[in-house]
């Protein structure tokens, strides 16, 4: 039972990171119908920038661990948001009117470019996050000892997701984003600046991805230039699992995938961990072809 609860909290923490990354995929997809394969590299970049800022500014020493990491997260999110907007401007915007698969190739190219840029700047070796940023304490709850970092990640992710949900559902700008996702042409006709909406999506999505990258660094302690790919793929799986383009779907998919993976790795086989995640995806899609919360629409390409 203790192992089960440990794995459940572990799965929820990892799953909430997946969910944050998945939101980036799903928001871009919702508005542009484009799979942003370079998103995973933005996550990696977030992890690396976080490490650079952490060591060079010594934020944790000056401001105390919690405030320092919070400020760090804000800075990383801001920087990655700018990179995300630049990515859209350079690699995707010229391809708005072209066949969808061409934009996918452009996204794959941008992904290769960013990954190799990171490798050239930081090197191909694994880098370690300092061990002493967050206090190594555990909190005793429901009969088990949960590491603080796990709880923090879960809480912060849920806060961010809640904030995003509120932003999308309740504010005027959020309504504009939803309108552009449903029908770009009609959104333009009622006076919504679709280009601005796209820019906004490319600021918010990458910002969440950058935060997720930072969390991965803090949680696992090790980062590598190729790490984004496997997390990105999982997050994309999560986005599809929940129904791509659907924001609550990405959150649900991420948490579900994290838990399934943690349980599968513990109770079935660690070596088959990644395969289990995809197997679950395929089984769910066979039953629900548009994901758990996806709309059942007939596709007209």
């Amino acid at each position: 039972m203790e192992q089960f609860l440990q794995q459940l909290t572990n799965g929820l923490a990892v799953g909430s990171i997946y969910a944050l990354i998945a939101l980036g995929y799903t928001m871009v997809y919702g508005v542009l119908k484009l799979i942003n394969f370079a998103h995973s590299e933005l996550v990696t970049l977030g992890a690396y920038l976080g490490l650079t800022l952490l060591t060079s500014l010594a934020l944790a020493d000056r401001l105390g661990p919690l405030l320092g990491v919070l400020l760090l997260a804000v800075m990383v999110m801001g920087l990655i948001a700018v990179v995300g907007a630049m990515l859209d401007r350079v690699a995707y915007r010229p391809l708005r009117q072209s066949p969808r698969l061409s934009a996918v190739v452009s996204a794959l190219g941008a992904s290769i470019f960013l990954q190799n840029t990171i490798m050239l700047i930081y090197g191909a070796r694994y880098l370690n996050y300092p061990h002493d940023i967050l206090p190594k304490m555990t909190i005793h709850m429901v009969g088990i000892d949960v590491p603080l970092v796990r709880i923090l990640i879960l809480c912060v992710s849920i806060l961010m997701m809640g904030g995003l949900f509120f932003f999308i559902q309740k504010t005027k700008v959020g309504t504009a984003i939803r309108a552009a996702a449903i029908d770009q042409g009609a959104a333009k006709l009622v006076g919504i600046d679709v280009n601005l909406v796209v820019l906004l999506v490319f600021l918010v999505g990458p910002a969440l991805g950058g935060a997720a990258g930072l969390m991965l660094g803090l949680y696992y302690g090790q980062i590598n230039f190729a790490m984004g790919w496997s997390y990105g793929l999982k997050a994309f799986t999560a986005a599809i699992l929940g129904g791509i383009g659907n924001i609550p779907g990405a959150m649900l998919g991420g948490l579900l995938l994290g838990v399934v993976e943690a349980m599968g790795a513990t109770y079935i086989s660690f070596a088959w961990k990644d395969a289990i995640a995809f197997l679950v995806l395929i089984l769910i899609l066979i039953v629900r072809p548009t994901g758990l919360l996806g709309e059942r629409v007939a596709e007209k390409v």
Binding site: L101, S106, G109, I112, N116, T290
Partner: protein, 320 residues
């Protein structure tokens, strides 16, 4: 016009036939790789280019073919080239089983499932499934192929094998493109609902496209295994699928010359950039973005089909 085409074909064939005589073995090997990827690209072209199905897991079919050849050759010592049909069959069967339940999925959902299948295959190979695949080390000691009593060893000997296989592929796929089957696939790509309305069984044709592409990738897998004599799971990753996919889209999806040009660029260019060492892939990624922006349809897109009216009906005499 037809004569001009014939002459161009003869000249190209001639150049290709003597080309390796003027190159050192390293560059002949590069040509071999281009050839293998061109054929893989052509096989994926049936699925992505002609049918418009978003398949980013083509390397899994390639893997099934290569491992079939490797296992049967090392365990039962069946000559490797005899196994070509078996490899095609096993890859095709695999595609049929895998694609059958998922073929109705919409574009991007199909994409992630094919990526997932690719990952599952790779993980299964690493985990030494059924104790046959040799784990992450793969399988080594695959026999050299034997053609009419001559054992193929050097890159140049393989060059002619790959060239011959490529020629057969181009010929057959061209026939396929202009057949009723090929037209049905194109119709399906352009408008699935209309195709269905015209009596095309869409699920059936999509599945058939998948199986045809997979069969061909499986056969290429056989040649790859014979050429390398060692195969391991890392040759069949998601990035391998990405490369094949990029070849198709960059070259011009649906077009045979386009896909071949795509293979030349995608496999050949990184070789030319070898001097850039670590920055090679960075330039490659940037080039992918750039080429897509400047030629969004691919370099040599599929040309619209032209049908000439029968002679006497040219000048508006015929009705319809």
């Amino acid at each position: 016009m037809i004569q001009y085409k014939t002459i161009a074909l003869i000249i190209t064939t001639g150049i290709l036939a003597v080309l390796p005589q003027f190159l050192n073995p390293y560059w002949v090997d590069v040509l071999n790789n281009i050839g293998i990827y061109a054929i893989l690209g052509l096989s994926l072209n049936i699925i992505v280019g002609h049918t418009g199905l978003f398949n980013l897991g083509h390397a899994s079919f390639f893997a099934v073919g290569a491992y079939t050849a490797a296992i049967l050759n090392t365990q039962y010592e069946i000559p490797v080239l005899w196994l070509i049909p078996v490899c095609g069959l096993s890859a095709g069967l695999f595609a049929l089983i895998v694609a059958r339940p998922i073929i109705h999925l919409r574009g991007d959902y199909l994409c992630i499932v094919t990526i997932g299948v690719n990952e599952i295959v790779r993980i299964a190979l690493i985990n030494n499934v059924f104790g046959l695949t040799g784990g992450s080390n793969g399988i080594f000691g695959i026999d050299r192929p034997n053609v009419f009593g001559m054992t193929l060893r050097t890159p140049m000997e393989f060059y002619y094998l790959i060239l011959a296989f490529g020629a057969v592929t181009i010929f057959l796929f061209r026939q396929l493109e202009y057949s009723r089957f090929g037209r049905a696939l194109n119709y399906l790509r352009e408008d699935e609902t209309a195709a269905q309305g015209s009596g095309i069984n869409t699920a059936h044709y999509k599945l058939a496209a998948f199986v045809v592409g997979a069969v061909w990738a499986g056969m290429v897998g056989n040649i790859y295994a014979a050429k390398m004599t060692i195969i391991s799971p890392e040759s069949f990753t998601f990035w391998e699928s990405v490369i094949i996919f990029v070849i198709v889209i960059l070259g011009g999806s649906g077009s045979i010359p386009g896909v071949i040009l795509g293979a030349v660029l995608v496999v050949g260019l990184p070789e030319l950039f070898r001097d850039l060492a670590n920055a090679r892939m960075l330039v490659f990624g940037a080039a992918m973005v750039g080429m897509m922006i400047f030629r969004t349809q691919g370099l040599l897109p599929q040309r619209p089909r032209k049908y000439t009216l029968p002679q006497g009906r040219r000048n508006g005499e015929g009705g319809e």
